[in-house]
Amino acid sequence: MQTSRTTGRRVVVTGMGAVSALGLDLPSTWAALIAGECGIAPITRFDATGFPTTFAAEVKGFDPTVLGRKEHRRMDRVTQFAVVAAREAVAMARAETAAAPERIAVIVGTAMGGIETYSENVRVLMEHGPRRISPFAVPMAIPNMAPGCVAIDLGAKGPNFAIASSFTGGANAILEGARMILDGRADIAVAGGAEAPITAIVSAGFAAMGALSDRNDDPQHAVKPFDLHRNGCVLGEGSAMLVLEEREAAIARGATILAEVAGGANTTDAFHQVALPDDGEGLVQAMRDALAEAGLTPDTVGYVNAHGTGTEMNDRVEAGAIRSVFGRRTPPVSSTKAATGHTLGAAGALEAVIAIQALRTGLLPPTRNHAADDPEIGLDVIPNVAREARIAAAMSNSMGFGGHNTVLVFTDPV
């Protein structure tokens, strides 16, 4: 991103919010992550009896009535998460009146939107016929209602859409939000991701692909990114939202600047619907492009938050791609999905927030459940225990079905 050549604008982060299996806000999520806790437990969202995988990373104790006793019933869980995370981010940024409503954009990445509403209404249709469908079924199910409802909640009248790019959606939303500010199309972008996929159909769908860990007897230790014995990911849910802002305007209003969005890139494998090319060429290209845009050499990156799903193929290809970009001196790398689960379209945003927290606090979050090194990985994965390290730049990787690769680079705002 660096400085826009035409507008001279730069983009900073002034607020962050998160709802995850680790906590209902950013402070609790971050504290649990650094403590090495795990948000994964048996599924309660539906009866998972007979399902290949019976555990997931569910958000616990979430009270949607904070959104209004009537209003919350008209929002799918994915939208509820997005609105709550956006409120936290905007409050942290003290951005409520920082820009004209017409100059505030909202971009939310989500892989599948209101899948709970959709699948439940299909069941109603099958069992009771077409005339029993709720008038709220369509508006609650469509993936763009997360940014739509965030805009209504905040009164944000600028550019607004959802981005679907499977598991890179949250990262792409941050990238596009930052571009809008660089281009002068908005002064503030509320950008991030949200997902609520813990449903019978999504669980069955991922299990059918062999993508989910089936260590049903030990959910907390099921997901082992980069470990020799990794056997799949686990579904997670939640949202993370960021307030992105033009740097000079943020300074002028006395906002606390959390990080600078220094660079970003989005490439495509054009290889296979779900498989990755062995050399991770598209991810390599995205990491290199993002660093080039940030004007950084690889050795300045002090931490990489990996996509690290915990599947055999993902972690092997991603590790190889990281080694290709960073050479023999790879920075510490962790996958926080062992703690948060794989939040699909929210993952890129949640992990961007985590990367920025690492930058701010000098604490690198660990990769949980690391027991046995895989010789094919060859990375310092910050096993099991958080580590202190002052860093100047952090990278966050996201990859998704469809061949999407998105990389974001954040720097200390000094």
């Binding site: 209404n121 077409p130 369509v138 508006p139 409802c149 209504i152 009248k157």
Partner: protein, 431 residues
């Protein structure tokens, strides 16, 4: 913000990198490629007919705008087509047509070619069949292809695989503005230098049980079951809802110099874009058409054009009471008295409402209209509505050579997009 003193539009582009269209593809209820679609549209032919995709007995609405005589096995491969939801199949077919017309060799520089295919819903048919499988046969009978077939980004991903395009790739999702956003955001990406070419558009296959039942539950669909071809009547006093339709439309967007250097035929320019949100209500447009008016104002500014430069508007015009009333108010806000001088039409009167595809299909139609000097009609005009008193080119196409045209899209969620296109003749032969 009418400026009637400016008769000649300013020629100087505001943006260093201009973006032109070098290929178009479309498949929808009125035709399976762009020549067939345009021939039907300029002739005022409706593609709406009784539903055949599923047994619609007992549904409030029993007709839709279905693609006809589509043979995905022959076009995409006997095995391959089974691993693609219908919305991905349609997207690939439209993208192939567009790329073939452009003459672009994607392999020459694949990382500079992006793909943005918007979709409101993604693989609905796959999703519904999958849920049915889980309920009736249990979770272990779900196909491993369920997930990649269902996700709304897979049309974009599959088009990239089919073409070998390795540049930026996402699906913009904003209900019925999805593909208008795809074109607009592609314009920004090319202007910013993030790609030289983007294959942009939309795809949707919503003629499913849930698609029809869901919109029926909202009272959004026309229920004129005895007269499907006459059901979509945007701006007419008798309009009673939109007609659900399927299809894909894709344009090849290319940086001007890139197109000139390779000797491509230029079909038109994507000249301006703006997007706003109502932040008002989940499904109702904002009061007074304020949001769409603001999008039109900003798009004109982005294009560097005076309101009087616009000679045709392809309206969103869904055929619902509220949409056309507010859209008309919005056009009057932006264009003032001049609004009465601009011919506009809703081609949804013929194609039905393709949801996420609507914006890109209407972009293709608008580009054809400027190329041939023929403005498409709004068919099914019987009873004028005093709330919709602009010139909607009733029933019969009109010969007008438009240099600049606008296409508007609005979606549930409060999304508004305005795109401005320039005819090929407005583009200098070289810079």
């Amino acid at each position: 913000m009418t400026d009637s003193s400016t008769q000649r539009p300013p020629a100087a582009p505001l943006h260093a990198r201009r973006v032109v269209v070098t290929g178009m593809g479309a498949i929808c209820a009125v035709g399976n490629d762009v020549p067939a679609v345009w021939e039907a549209i300029r002739s005022g032919r409706s593609g709406i007919a009784p539903i055949t995709r599923f047994d619609a007995t007992g549904f409030e609405t029993t007709f839709a705008g279905e693609v006809k005589d589509f043979d995905p096995a022959a076009l995409l491969g006997r095995k391959e087509h089974r691993r693609l939801d219908r919305y991905s199949q349609l997207a690939i077919v439209a993208a192939r047509e567009a790329i073939a017309q452009s003459g672009l060799d994607v392999a020459a520089d694949p990382t500079r070619v992006g793909v943005l295919i918007g979709s409101a819903m993604g693989g609905m048919e796959t999703l519904e069949a999958g849920v049915e499988t889980v309920v009736t046969q249990g979770p272990k009978r779900v196909s491993p292809f369920f997930m990649p077939m269902m996700l709304p980004n897979m049309a974009s991903g599959n088009v990239a695989i089919d073409l070998g395009a390795k540049g930026p790739n996402v699906a913009t999702v904003s209900a019925c503005a999805s593909s208008a956003h795809a074109i607009g955001e592609s314009l920004q990406m090319i202007r910013d230098g993030r790609a030289d070419v983007i294959v942009a558009g939309g795809s949707e296959a919503p003629v499913t049980r849930m698609g029809v039942a869901g919109f029926n539950a909202m009272g959004a669909l026309s229920t004129r079951n005895d007269d499907p071809a006459g059901a979509s009547r945007p701006f007419d006093a008798g309009r009673d809802g939109f007609v659900l339709a399927e299809g894909a439309a894709v344009i090849v967007m290319e940086e001007l110099q890139h197109a000139l250097d390779r000797g491509a035929t230029i079909l038109g320019e994507v000249r301006g874009y703006a997007t706003t949100d109502d932040a008002n209500h989940m499904v109702q447009p904002g009061p007074g058409g304020e949001g769409i008016a603001r999008a039109m104002d900003l798009a004109l500014a982005d294009a560097g054009l005076a309101p009087t430069a616009i000679q045709y508007i392809n309206a969103h015009g869904t055929s619902t009471q509220l949409n056309e009333k507010l859209e008309t108010e919005g056009m009057k806000k932006t264009f003032g008295e001049h609004a009465y001088q601009i011919p506009l039409s809703s081609t949804k009167s013929m194609t039905g409402h393709l949801l996420g595809t609507a914006g890109s299909l209407e972009a293709v139609i608008t580009l054809c209209a400027m190329r041939d000097g023929i403005l498409p009609p709004t068919i099914n005009q019987v009873t004028p509505d005093p709330d919709c008193d602009l010139d909607c080119i009733p029933n019969v196409a009109r010969a007008v050579q438009a240099d600049y045209a606008m296409s508007n899209s609005m979606g549930f969620g409060g999304h508004n997009v305005s795109l401005i296109f320039g005819a090929a003749g407005t583009i200098p032969a070289s810079r």
